[in-house]
């Protein structure tokens, strides 16, 4: 049906490729994460940072008024310490791009120094060092930690990437070795041994902060406020630092250290500065830690703490101050919830459901998988019940060592899952362990099969996950907590590598 006349191109509807307008509006097309996280992120981007800070501090400061539950107040204080740690780590890791694995050593150093200067004792009763007032101790601790940051990074100032990471990890190991074995310090063989650090028990009965004539003895509440006050000052200072020439220097050396150096930025100095500023934040957190927990010991400053803080920074979004605060709050509250089987169950099942809803499309498939899981469970339950009746009527864990046969959860699980009666009976106990290994194998298989096989395998895998959860993991929070962290990080890595509030970075174009 040719009409002979050349078709006239339709008038340009909106911006076109190659036209400047297209470039100008490229930001609008980068919509960022979709769904709820996207809305939250866009709302957070619109709000001025200091308004967010004020809102966060106001809400957190009111926690002691909202609940008289000492445990919740304590969790809030722990969380604030984690927030401080994450914010400090973000300086070196997020802004300057240095993989500082020795970070926790600064925290520990500060806590020990606080204990030594403000008064504490070792188990055998000897009072250590000074009994300084807090207004003197805290600046000295923070200053000394900053100096330690400079001193240690002086040795790593020429190192980048993996080399820097390994050497800084070495600092953490030295610190842990020193504090664990510092009770037999022999001054290079010059007469006798001395106890400097209290060894593996550490220093106990550290004195509380004393301010305007009062000792801060209401631990959960007072140190929450102290940490919040410090956080406010630190967050404002770091925000300004990040906007300054120093902040730009950090970001430029993160992107391209050689170009930064050649463009006039003293890269080695900026690296040292980033480590030292981060150490200073950890120093303040350490001074709160030493008083708040009333003791310091090497186990508090372990590699596991480092990994937890890293998980917070990565989850929230490396380089985003608000993001790492969010990450610290979420991770610590989540880890705390996992201590309680009753709540942990909700977290576990909700997490599975959210992951399924996010990943399994279309909804018919999702419905099929969920229905399949229910049917599969009921069938297995019926079979096992017929052969081995006590296997399906075991108690349901609701606390660290408490079980129940009643309630909604128990009713559901008794008809759907297999619950060996006593998980502490050796034979039954092994069922859980074998199932755990089988679960790992099945999850790994899931990642290599595709198509209908994946969804078919997903059904027994989900059921088995619930089985492993109810029989083994729910009672083993020390194991489950790092396991959860690992799962969160793996999921995040595949879905959103920049973290929830992080800006995706472009390495090569």
């Amino acid at each position: 049906m040719s009409t002979g006349a050349p078709p006239t191109p339709p008038p340009a509807a909106g911006p076109q490729i190659g036209v400047d307008e297209w470039v100008r509006r490229s930001g609008e097309r980068i919509t960022g994460p979709a769904g709820l996280p996207g809305h939250v992120k866009r709302a957070a981007d619109r709000t001025p940072p200091f308004v967010l800070l004020a809102a966060f501090v106001a809400v957190a400061a009111c926690i002691p008024f909202m609940t008289s539950n000492i445990y919740i107040q304590g969790v809030a204080t722990d969380t604030m310490l984690y927030v401080l740690l994450a914010v400090g780590l973000n300086v070196a890791v997020g802004w300057a791009g240095l993989l500082d694995l020795g970070y926790v050593a600064y925290y520990g150093f500060a806590a020990y120094l606080y204990a030594a200067l403000s008064g504490s004792r070792i188990l055998t009763g000897q009072v250590l060092l000074a009994d300084w007032p807090t207004w003197k101790v805290v600046p000295v601790v923070v200053g000394a930690t900053v100096l330690l940051g400079f001193a240690l990074s002086l040795t790593t100032r020429r190192l980048r990437g993996d080399y820097f990471a390994i050497v800084s990890l070495f600092f953490l190991e030295i610190f842990n070795n020193f504090t664990s074995n510092g009770d037999r310090w022999d001054w290079l063989g010059l007469g006798g041994t001395h106890d400097l650090t209290g060894g593996t028990t550490g220093l106990i009965d550290t004195h509380p902060w004393r301010m305007v004539g009062h000792s801060l003895l209401n631990y959960s509440r007072d140190y929450l406020w102290v940490a919040l006050a410090g956080f406010t000052v630190i967050a404002v200072a770091l925000t300004y630092a990040n906007r300054s020439r120093t902040g730009r220097g950090w970001r430029s050396l993160r992107d391209d250290p050689l170009a930064a150096e050649v463009m006039g930025s003293p890269v080695k100095w900026l690296m040292m500065l980033a480590v030292a500023v981060g150490a200073g934040v950890a120093g303040f957190a350490g001074a709160v830690n030493g008083a708040y927990y009333q003791q310091v010991s090497p186990t508090s400053f372990s590699f596991q703490l480092l990994i937890t803080v890293y998980a917070m920074v990565i989850l929230g979004g490396v380089g985003s101050l608000g993001g790492v605060v969010f990450g610290a709050v979420v991770v610590n509250v989540l880890l705390e919830v996992l201590r309680f089987p009753n709540y942990a169950g909700w977290v576990f099942y909700a997490g599975l459901l959210i992951a399924l809803v996010a990943k399994v499309r279309p909804w018919r498939l999702l419905a099929a998988v969920l229905g399949g899981v229910v049917v599969f469970g009921v069938v297995v339950n019926a079979i096992v019940g017929a052969v081995w009746s006590r296997g399906v009527h075991g108690p349901v864990a609701v606390g660290a060592d408490s079980f129940t046969q009643h309630g909604f959860r128990a009713a559901v699980l008794h008809h759907w899952l297999v619950l060996p009666k006593n998980t502490y009976e050796v034979a039954d106990y092994h069922i859980g362990n074998y199932a755990y290994v089988l679960l790992i194998a099945m999850v790994l298989t899931l990642t290599v099969v595709s198509g209908w096989k994946r969804y078919a395998l997903l059904v027994p895998t989900l059921w088995l996950a619930a089985f492993v959860w109810e029989t083994v993991l729910i009672e083993q929070s020390p194991t489950t907590r790092p396991l959860f962290l690992g799962v969160i990080l793996i999921v995040l890595m595949t879905s959103r590598p920049a973290g929830i509030f992080g800006t995706p970075r472009v390495e090569v174009v």
Binding site: Y240, T246, G249, S252, R254, G264
Partner: protein, 263 residues
């Protein structure tokens, strides 16, 4: 003849057993544009790396205004007044366009991190200065790096604009001499023509002294006061474009010996 602004005296460097630069003497007088040409692997970029302190020379001296630059850290050399661009672009891709330029003002401002944290007057003054310099340098390129582009990440720029941005960044270090490493590489003919004009404008309006590596002979012809030809790390010819381009040794270096008879 006025004293040279930049002078390389008997410069030499080896990587392992390979003699990359050998006894090189080059000088650049103030407000002059000198082109460094030579076949691939002649050592041109190595000369830039030696001047900017990325590599240390084994022998010889590099003088800026009579003072030696040998052994100084790259950022110190930059602050003495030497700025460069890179053949393979090295922008801070995840920083905004304006921040890329602002970052180059680090060496020209003094405020410490503590002053910045407390927003003391000196820090505020420094930030105002950095902003003003960055905007001025970006305005040098007309509309191309202005307005909405300031806040876009550098990775969103086109190739030609990245070249311009790198130039703006080098200018923001407030150098006395600009080292441009193949500014027209990867540009289309129109953009190449623009770059040629721009380099002239840099000298005339920006009052910069320029040492430029360039492969495009039209550009070299259009901008150079003087041309230095390198081959295997040695200077094989020096003079005006016509002198160097017709020098049999240069022709030989580029085309091989048979070409001389053809000419």
């Amino acid at each position: 003849m006025t004293a040279p602004l930049l002078e390389l005296r008997g410069l030499g460097v080896s990587f392992g057993g390979l003699r990359v630069i050998d006894g090189l003497d080059v000088h650049v007088v103030e407000h002059e544009i000198v082109s460094l040409i030579g076949p691939n692997g002649a050592g041109k970029t190595t000369v830039f790396n030696l001047i900017t302190g990325v590599f240390k020379p084994d022998e010889g001296d590099i003088l800026l205004d009579g003072q030696s630059l040998v052994g100084l850290d790259p950022h110190v050399i930059t602050n003495r007044g030497v700025a460069r661009t890179f053949q393979t672009l090295r922008l801070f891709l995840n920083m905004s366009v304006k921040e890329n330029v602002m970052s180059a003002q680090y060496g020209r401002t003094k405020s410490t991190i503590v002053e910045s944290m407390l927003q003391l007057p000196r820090a505020r003054r420094a930030e105002r200065q950095i902003n003003a310099v960055a905007e001025e340098k970006l305005a040098f390129f007309g509309e191309r790096l202005m307005g909405y582009r300031w806040n876009q990440p550098a990775y969103s720029l086109s190739y030609a604009n990245r070249r311009r941005l790198e130039l703006a960044r080098a200018m923001a270090t407030e150098p006395r001499i600009l080292l441009l490493d193949e500014p027209a590489a990867g540009m289309n003919p129109v953009e190449t023509h623009e770059i040629t004009e721009l380099i002239g404008k840099l000298r005339d309006e920006g009052r910069y002294t320029i040492l430029v590596i360039e492969h495009d002979m039209h550009v070299v012809e259009g901008i150079s006061d003087r041309v230095v030809a390198l081959d295997h790390g040695e200077k094989i010819s020096e003079g005006t474009f016509e002198q160097v381009a017709t020098d049999p040794r240069v022709v030989e270096a580029y085309l091989g010996t048979a070409a001389t008879t053809k000419k």
